[in-house]
């Protein structure tokens, strides 16, 4: 696809040629004749291009991509020892033969309109010649083991410290040295965590291809804009997001982007834009798929819902309820099932995969202007800057990103209510008292510290959430720290208001608060 943006890049063609050649050699030496045939033709075609015998056109690229698809199918079959031709191979072979024989620009394929999918991915992902960092593949299990070991070292060190402390003066130097080691150890943990992180870019870049295929098949035109391809997430998260993003992009193409003629009539750019965007916000990973198409067709969704008996004939729905309909399994407004969508599985998959990552999907849509699908995920396995607080005898971590400022709560405010309003330079800021919200009230136990007692002076952490500023009243501020996020395992991962946990320097576990959920709950309760 990079070839499409830079048709005259001889080096690129040569790279492709070499790859085709290598594949052919391997296939033939292993006796996979079907693959050999395709790679041979591919090689021939690329060779002609190398010698400028054919022009790079949309059709040429389409042909190459089709060849890649057939080869992928062949590789899969080869893995199970099957040497039969893949579906579509016959047609491809014919097209390749034609092209290689030097017939006019091979606009075979699907009768491609002239270069509809202009690749506007900034800054060009997946350009083969970009300098690649040297590296090797390593199993996730090894990384996890490494992490566990780092944790064990921390515990062992903790024991040494507790043995040294009683020695007092004589052990001061040794303790100092151990503290240094502690810092290094924490760094090791962080590095290992980071090693699990991969940028979202590549999983975005693959959709440039999706959009291209779809636009050709449907006579639509669209470009893909990628923002935030350097935003990183845990490998497992990136994998889980792959399918949802695919469905969202396909939906945008199928239901969102209008045909060029219609777009012209609406005084829009005939080439539609699909934006894939990733960023961090308020301690969450946000992934958006935005199109500048027609927006959700309320009337059609309502009609279909009535037809299927999901809602009453006269019942009208708020936007929010309409959006929820879309995520129902099997719900589709498409009149016919197409290759792209219409089977009604897509958005259901989006919903399910995102829910399994404990995220939410939001839809914002304006008729005629476009639709934005937003996936919000809590941060999982990763290192984040955190802010440590104490409340009710426990320590909690707030993602530093959502902390705006800290101040003393005036003594007058220090009562034991679960919520209140503080005065922030004249602005009323609602706050929740963490000690009451999560502490003593939830199953006070014998032996637990006297968590219900108010402290002399509470502090207020002002946090940012979806609707503005809010506060969390805590007993003490303990400062910033880089924290390694540990997901709470089964069965605790469903606890609302807690997004994970971390292990503090002293080996104790602290919970990470899910500020957004806590605030949402408070708001819902207030309105109930």
């Amino acid at each position: 696809m990079a070839l499409e943006s830079r048709p005259d890049d001889g080096e690129l063609v040569a790279t492709l040629f070499r790859a085709a050649h290598t594949l052919k050699g391997n296939a033939s030496s292993l006796g996979f004749t079907a693959m050999t045939e395709v790679t041979h033709l591919l090689e021939e075609l690329l060779d002609r291009r190398r010698h400028h015998a054919v022009q790079v056109t949309g059709g040429f690229v389409t042909l190459l991509l089709e060849a890649v698809d057939v080869l992928r199918a062949l590789v899969r079959k080869a893995a199970i020892g099957d040497d039969s031709p893949a579906p579509g191979q016959g047609a491809l072979v014919e097209a390749l033969e034609n092209a290689a024989a030097g017939n006019a620009a091979p606009d075979a394929g699907a009768g491609a309109p002239e270069l509809p999918a202009a690749v506007a991915a900034a800054p060009g992902p997946a350009v083969p010649e970009a300098p690649r960092p040297r590296g090797l593949r390593i199993g996730l299990d090894k990384l996890d083991r490494l992490l566990t070991l780092a944790g064990e070292i921390a515990i062992a060190r903790g024991r040494i410290v507790s043995l040294l402390v009683p020695l007092g003066e004589r052990a001061v130097d040794v303790l100092e040295a151990i503290r240094d080691a502690e810092r290094l150890d924490r760094e090791v943990q962080e590095v290992v965590m980071r090693a699990r992180m991969v940028p979202l870019g590549p999983s975005f870049a693959q959709h440039v291809r999706t959009v291209r295929d779809v636009s050709i098949a449907h006579g639509k035109q669209a470009r893909v804009v990628i923002e935030g391809d350097d935003v990183e997430a845990d490998l497992a998260v990136v994998e889980q997001l792959r399918d949802p993003i695919t469905h969202m992009v396909r939906n945008a193409m199928d239901h969102g982007i209008e045909p060029p003629a219609q777009r012209r009539a609406l005084a829009k750019d005939p080439v539609g834009t699909i934006t894939l965007r990733a960023f961090h916000q308020a301690g969450q990973l946000v992934v958006q798929v935005q199109d500048d198409g027609a927006g959700l067709d309320r009337a059609r969704i309502l009609a279909r819902a009535r037809q299927r008996g999901l809602i009453g004939q006269t019942q009208s729905l708020a936007d929010r309820e309409i959006h929820e309909l879309i995520f129902r399994p099997g719900f589709t407004t498409a009149e016919t099932v197409t290759e792209l969508s219409g089977r009604g599985v897509g958005m259901d998959v989006v919903h399910r995969n995102v829910a399994s990552l404990r995220g939410v999907v939001e839809i914002a849509s304006r008729e005629g202007v476009g639709t934005t699908l937003t996936i919000r995920l809590p941060l999982t396995l990763t290192v984040i800057p955190g802010f440590l607080v104490a409340a009710g005898g426990e320590r909690y971590v707030l993602p530093l990103e959502c902390v705006v400022e800290c101040l003393d709560l005036p003594p007058g405010e220090s009562d034991s209510a679960e919520a209140g309003v503080a005065d922030l330079r004249g602005e009323p800021v609602p706050y929740l008292r963490v000690r009451r919200l999560l502490g003593a009230g939830t199953g006070a136990r014998a032996g637990a510290p006297a968590a219900g007692d108010a402290v002399a002076r509470e502090s207020l952490v002002v946090v940012e959430h979806a609707d503005g500023l809010a506060g969390l009243a805590v007993d003490a501020l303990l400062g910033e720290a880089q924290i390694v996020v540990k997901p709470l395992g089964h069965p605790l991962q469903a606890v609302r208001g807690v997004s994970g946990s971390t292990i503090l320097g002293d080996g104790q576990v602290a919970l990470i608060l899910d500020v957004a959920t806590l605030m949402d709950e408070a708001r819902v309760e207030a309105h109930a």
Partner: protein, 176 residues
Amino acid sequence: MSAEPGAVPTRQFLSFLMGADACAVELSHVHEIVRFESATRVPRVPACIRGVVNLRGNVVPVIDLAVGLAMTEAPVTPRSCLLVVEATLGRERSVVGLIADAVSQVLDLRPEDIEPAPSFGTRVPATFLLGMVRSESGFVQLLDLDRLLGVDGPLHGMEQERVVPETPPPAGKATS
């Protein structure tokens, strides 16, 4: 693996005290035994989940079966330990720590040593027992961990996504 000819296959159980009750779990379930001092409390969970602890870098939930089965909760003592066990929680295999007030011994039991649990009268409900066995100091209750930690056990309710609770769940909820 192969037993001596004529040898009767035995099952090994680890016996421990839960409050005043002698209980035992199959040894093969137990990964390790660690000392228990304190756990970080987790809000909004059944009271039998004492919280979470750091087990060499892994965050592991701590379950107090004594609370879960409405028996008396014993204070944490220097002899308190965690039996780190693997069991099916709801639908997933998970590693959890069970609070034991003291670990006693490993019992080698032949099938005929294990008496079926009486249908009532036991401190631990009979549905959660594999059986009972006599020891010098009285009966030992053999716990059926998969049932105890499964969907019928005191942890039940953790599976569903919680709706916004008006008030934090009362401590006794899980035992009903």
